[in-house]
């Protein structure tokens, strides 16, 4: 204890020094190397402060440990001084080779010696440095390609597992908590109504405005009703709903499952014999597949209302607009969007859950998983929609 008390003296001095320093300027920190016959000595002076000026080193740092220290002019010091000495010790080749012996520290204050001994107690691990990538362009291309294949493979595997899980559910062996299911159903159904309403109303409005400007040239602005109706039920209603849901619900799935994974909650499910797939993915998939068609029909109706509002502004009576809309839509047209919505719902739920399940175990990884889930599901929705467009064209519907 005596040594400890003595050692901390200079740190007590620090506070005194620093209060005195408010009136006095700090002498800048200096380190001077002096050749002393065979040996080397190090002269330290000034105030070593984190916020102060950088250290002025005079003389060339030798490739050997200092044998003596001159501290006569040394003032205040914080961690910058031991950090400076440590860097020098480590730079000396003979010292790094022979790690066992501590460098001579005669003349240093006790607390500084204590800190340096502590810092040198565990040798620097030279092989811990992470491998820096030094790959060529071809290596990189190969790796990116393989990664891409890996991702496709992972998605297919996930899709396969989903089907198996569905099969277990249909035969009554897949288990999840029904409370979970109802909660998810509420989250991705009822709670999404306001945002879906707002967006699809505005989309209907925009379509009607744009259509009206063009169609008035031909004196055919009544056909705004046809345009809005067909566009909403075939494309815009379902695509906008899907995009809203991937930002809203797909991201929530990925973040929830991702943080469960980071917390080892998924491992906990597994050890209790629950299949995490049945338990987490299945209720989300079913809920979204059930809710997407309903949300789509809702979005279609609200979009048509939006168009009707614009119609009444440009002189189409609501009744006429309604009749025209009904005349333009048939069952085939109206069902296309709803059919697509089922597939979109499955895609959103699967990419959200997949990214969550594959997330790493840190909070940064959860954020990354969420981003990937949204990007993947929006991309998949647009690609799927183009595929549907091609198929419907071929089938002439």
């Amino acid at each position: 204890m005596a040594a400890a008390d003595e050692g901390s003296d200079s740190l007590d001095d620090l506070s005194v020094t620093s209060s005195r320093m408010t009136t006095q300027p700090h002498p800048p920190p200096t380190a001077a190397w002096q050749q002393d016959g065979e040996a080397v000595s190090l002269e330290l002076a000034g105030d070593w402060r984190r916020e102060g000026p950088a250290v002025k080193v005079s003389g060339k740092p030798p490739d050997r440990l200092p044998a003596r220290y001159g501290l006569a002019a040394l003032g205040f010091y914080d961690s910058t001084l031991p950090a400076f000495l440590l860097v020098h010790f480590r730079s000396v080749s003979t010292f790094t080779k022979d790690k066992k012996e501590l460098p001579p520290m005669e003349g240093l204050p006790d607390n500084l010696r204590g800190l340096l001994e502590l810092a040198l107690a565990v040798p620097e691990e030279s092989d811990t440095a992470l491998e820096t990538d030094k790959e060529s362009a071809i290596d990189k291309l190969g790796r990116v390609t393989l990664d891409l294949f890996g991702k496709v493979q992972a998605f297919l595997e996930f899709a396969g597992l989903t089907v198996l899980s569905l099969a277990r559910f249909c035969t009554g062996r897949g288990r999840f908590r029904s409370a979970d299911f109802w909660m998810i159903l509420q989250q991705c159904g009822a709670e999404a109504l306001p945002i879906v309403a707002l967006i699809s109303f505005l989309i209907g409005l925009i379509l009607a405005f744009v259509g009206n400007v063009q169609l008035t040239h031909f004196g055919a602005n009544l056909y705004v009703a046809d345009l809005v109706g067909i566009a909403m039920v075939r494309e815009m209603g379902v695509v906008m709903t899907a995009i809203i849901m991937s930002g809203r619900t797909g991201a929530a799935f990925a973040a929830h499952i991702g943080s469960m994974k980071a917390n080892e909650e998924i491992d906990a499910l597994r050890t209790f014999g629950f299949n995490p797939f049945d338990f987490l993915v299945l209720p989300r998939l079913l809920a979204l597949v059930l809710m997407m068609p309903l949300l789509t029909i809702y979005a279609d109706a609200i979009g048509i209302l939006g168009g009707m509002l614009v119609g009444s502004f440009v002189g189409i009576p609501a009744e006429l607009y309604w009749n025209e809309t009904l005349a333009s839509l048939d069952m085939t047209n109206s069902s296309l969007g709803v059919i697509k919505s089922v597939f979109f719902g499955a895609t959103i739920a699967m990419s959200g859950c997949m990214m969550g399940m594959q997330a790493g175990k840190s909070s940064a990884a959860v954020g990354e998983a969420t981003t990937q889930a949204v990007v993947a599901s929006i991309t998949a929705i647009v690609v799927l929609d183009s595929a549907f467009a091609a198929i419907f064209t071929l089938l002439e519907i």
């Binding site: 400890a4 910058t80 400076f84 440590l86 840190s362 909070s363």
Partner: protein, 254 residues
């Protein structure tokens, strides 16, 4: 001279749920002050009060002569700069490497040269035995290493007072011992005061200079004093029971 930290009539509560009544104790300079008690008795809550993350329901906390509780929360940065805190699970920022975790508080002032920051980071990591791990992410290292890296980060700004929340829990006896030695070494050479929340008996006896026992049954301060003395001579049976791991406690002197 006033004690480093003085706690007066501190009552801690979450809403109407009172955690602890009327705590009164002092922490002297260079103490290794142990806050102990059974699980869930409010040890970490007390720590959160001491560092200003939670407001007392009643009472005050003084640092030296200055009243920390009476200072407005946005004027507390002068106090906060003197604290270094290690949280229970390390709480390292997961998107930053260990080196960046330590350099972020250092670079905050914007006055330090990049080379100085780098040297300081290397030195702080060396102190906790993690030399060469600058480029690792927290997810890539073990639990014990995370704790040590958490201590290195807590020490980044050469704090006057180091708060450690359960530094030894979840570590094997040898790592826990090494951590104790590290804490002792830091106290002796850095000259800081250290406040530890723990219920590891081995650590309490080997490094604690003064211990505070929070009694969850009475929701009051159970006892305070040097740990070995409390174990053998405390007049509170709950304290003796706790420090003897439930074995027949030594009878208090008449």
């Amino acid at each position: 001279m006033a004690a480093k930290i003085t706690v007066r009539d501190l009552t801690m509560a979450y809403g109407d749920l009172v955690v602890m009544h009327d705590l009164n104790f002092e922490i002297e300079d260079k103490d290794i002050f142990v806050i102990m008690g059974s699980s869930g008795c409010g040890k970490s809550t007390l720590l959160r009060h001491l560092i200003g993350l939670q407001e007392p329901a009643k009472g005050s906390i003084l640092y030296g002569e200055e009243n920390f509780t009476a200072t407005a929360p946005d004027e507390r940065s002068a106090f906060m700069r003197r604290f270094g805190v290690m949280y229970q699970s390390g709480a390292l920022w997961s998107s930053l490497t260990l080196g960046e975790n330590i350099s972020m508080p250092l670079e905050e002032s914007g006055k330090m040269a990049a080379a100085t920051v780098r040297d300081l980071v290397a030195y702080k990591l060396a102190l906790v035995g993690l030399s060469g791990f600058e480029d690792f992410y927290p997810a890539q290292i073990s639990g014990g290493m995370k704790k040590r890296a958490g201590i290195a980060r807590a020490m980044a700004l050469d704090p006057d007072i180091l708060f450690l929340d359960e530094p030894g829990s979840g570590l094997d006896p040898l790592s826990s011992r090494r951590l104790d030695d590290l804490i002792l070494g830091l106290r002796d050479s850095q000259g800081s005061t250290i406040v530890i929340v723990t219920h590891e008996l081995a650590s309490i006896f080997s490094i604690g200079t003064k211990a505070l026992f929070l009694d969850s049954a009475t929701k009051k301060q159970g006892a305070i004093g040097p740990p070995c003395e409390l174990r053998d001579h405390s007049d509170n049976p709950a304290v003796r029971l706790f420090l003897n791991r439930g074995d027949t406690p030594a009878t208090p002197p008449p």
